[in-house]
């Protein structure tokens, strides 16, 4: 049977669906073969991502090599677009009906927008077929309208990076409460260091400062979700208290010179050249960049924002780092899913772990990477709290108003009022 005839036959008889089930039973390697024969790519696969810096491209290239080495695989083209332009371009090609085959998907409001626009394939049926067991809380966070529309590659935690030498010179220890954190600013300055640089200009870290405090002020752990469902108001006390904690840090002089004009490149540069004693946020997407910028010369470690009164264990924020969706109108949907299987294959998981990424599955052997920073990041993952608001207008209000709070131009009440106003 010719290739075209076989494709037509499989489509007519629905054997493509049966192939998914077979793939589920046979695991990653054979699962791939079933998909490839069910619907071979009609040309090179095209994948879009915004993670063109750091070590993510190495992960993509490793998967590409593995993918292209397969007998019947087509090539893979990866297109990187800076995040600032990514969502705009993605929405444009989706609206135009000519999307790439596999797209990195933002985990905030755009995810829901694009699903609402009926632009993505639901992936519930394939997640159990040939993929490792993915972390359930993470998968739960990706469910919208009762379906799952994205597959996570890895997860991250956002914590504070601190310079070991700076702390030693200033005679300070890792803080265990908010007051202690604020109190170390002065001795650090006296030792010649700016205390805590935050990549405020990028916007989203301003939201994360607040999320990091909500992790403590919200004992229920789901206040944000309840606010999104309209069950509680956005000006609830737990949200005010979180903003008040950030205000306390700002007024306490914790944040470094440069204020809200600092972006990621700036704070990494200042941290790598040992001008900033601490930087936030640090996730596995930045550890490689810190090492590259400092030439591996900066000795640093991580700690999560301590609980306000020091009575609780430290909680980091975290969530999906990189996740992919398959556009509804993509030409090679099944092949794109196969590519995701390649990313999460045993070989793919090794590539992730080797490069300090935390795979979104417990099947990965993270113990194989004994780098202390990596070990610390994986330990933070155990109690990490989510950090996402899905309503883009509420999220924009949060990042904007938190920037003002950070600059001393706004109050905690202003922050929650902005959230409530944006939610309408």
């Amino acid at each position: 049977m010719s290739e075209i005839d076989r494709r037509r036959f499989l489509r007519l008889t629905g054997l493509g669906v049966a192939g998914m089930g077979l793939g589920s039973g046979l695991g990653t390697g054979l699962g791939r073969g079933v998909y490839a024969s069910a619907a071979p790519a009609t040309g090179d696969l095209e994948m879009w991502s915004w993670n063109g810096d750091g070590t993510y491209p190495e992960i993509h290239q490793a998967a590409r090599a593995q993918w292209e080495a397969a007998d019947d695989a087509n090539g893979l083209r990866v297109t990187y677009t800076d995040f600032g332009q990514y969502v705009t371009r993605l929405k444009t090609v989706l609206a135009g009906g000519v999307p790439p085959d596999l797209v990195q998907m933002p985990w905030a409001g755009e995810y829901h927008d694009i699903i609402d626009a009926n632009q993505l394939l639901a992936l519930d049926d394939v997640i159990g077929a040939g993929f490792p067991a993915l972390f359930q809380p993470i998968m739960d966070s990706l469910v919208y309208n009762d379906k799952t529309w994205a597959i996570p590659l890895d997860v991250n935690t956002l914590t504070i990076g601190y310079n070991l030498v700076a702390f030693e010179e200033a005679g300070v220890e890792v803080p265990t409460s908010l007051d202690e954190l604020i109190a170390i600013a002065e001795p650090l300055r006296a030792a010649g260091y700016e205390p805590l640089g935050v990549s405020a200009k990028d916007g989203w870290p301003m939201g994360d400062l607040w999320f990091a405090q909500v992790a403590y002020t919200d004992q229920s752990g789901d206040a944000i979700r309840r606010a999104e469902r309209g069950e509680i108001s956005w000006d609830d006390d737990v949200f005010v208290a979180a903003a008040a904690n950030v205000e306390k840090m700002a007024k306490g002089g914790l944040f470094a010179e440069g204020g809200s004009a600092n972006d990621t490149a700036t704070i990494v540069g200042q941290f790598a050249t040992e001008r900033f004693a601490m930087m936030y946020p640090v996730g596995n997407f930045l550890t490689g960049l810190i090492d590259q910028t400092s030439g591996g010369e900066v000795a640093y470690d991580l700690f999560a924002f301590p609980s306000p009164d020091g009575s609780q264990d430290s909680i980091s924020t975290g969530g999906v780092a990189e996740m992919f969706s398959v556009p509804m109108n993509g030409e090679n949907a099944e092949a794109a899913i196969e590519l995701m299987r390649t990313f999460l294959s045993p070989e793919g998981l090794v590539e992730l772990v080797d490069r300090d990424f935390i795979p979104a599955t417990g099947d990965a052997d993270t113990a194989a990477n004994d780098d202390p920073i990596y070990v610390k990041m994986t330990s933070f993952q155990e109690n990490a709290q989510t950090r996402v608001i899905y309503d883009p207008e509420v999220y924009a209000a949060l990042t904007n108003e938190m920037t003002s709070l950070y600059n001393g131009d706004s109050t905690p009440d202003d922050v929650v009022k902005a959230l409530a106003d944006a939610a309408g």
Binding site: K91, A95, A117, N118, E257, G258, N400, E401, N407, D409
Partner: protein, 272 residues
Amino acid sequence: MLLFIVILLVPVVAVIVLGFSGWTGFDLQQIRWEGARNYWELTKDSFFLAAFRHTVVLIAATALLMNALGLAAAMVVNSRVRGSEFLRIAMFLPLGLSPIITAVIWQRMLGPFGIVNEALGWFGISPVDFFGQPRMAFIALIAAYVWQYAGYNMLLYYAALQSLPTERVEAAAVDGASKWGQFRHVVLPYLRPVVAVVVILNLIGGWKIFDIVYVLTGGGPNRATDVLATYLYEQSFTFSNVGYASAIATIIIGLAVVSSLTRRAVAGSDTA
């Protein structure tokens, strides 16, 4: 003609029509007719009103500065004093840059660890958070915009000065008019129609200003430098409110058209 209709007219008409709709921008079948609701919402939208106000202030400030600097530079260049050639080139060069590049240059210069703050540090002055403080961010934006486009005004004024009858200036000088008097009573009245046209050209360009704002400040901090076009962009591409964004675009088109008609009226009255 067909090309004009397809490339220019159809998109403009489409934007105007979409301004009366609710649409996420994805599926044409999901367009909902909303009547004038978007425009009614805009009158109550504090972010839109702030963006409108910022745009007006930006246009007023940049037009004033660009005309003052452009005219002054044109006078110097026209006088052909020593260094005037250098001034002409220095004013003209930024025009050759993309606004994106201009924004990046100014971002680097005024950034927290940029050359300006380094220089302030030499004099013991604390660093200035140019992009963190609303007022400073707005001033930085005006400075970058004026730096880029003042040369354009200079060229227009310089061209007009080429046709200035020198005998009028000489007669004023003979009558004892000072340099300032010559400028005020002879040169400026002669340039009045040119000034009017240049100001209106600045207005037309100002209503649609986007790129330099988007890259330099992103409309921040906390919307302090948001202008009509950046707010339109956010509504359209971040919030997927394409109908609402189209209403904003229609307003920008309207303002540009009114400015353009004013320019024609001014030019017409001066040639009549």
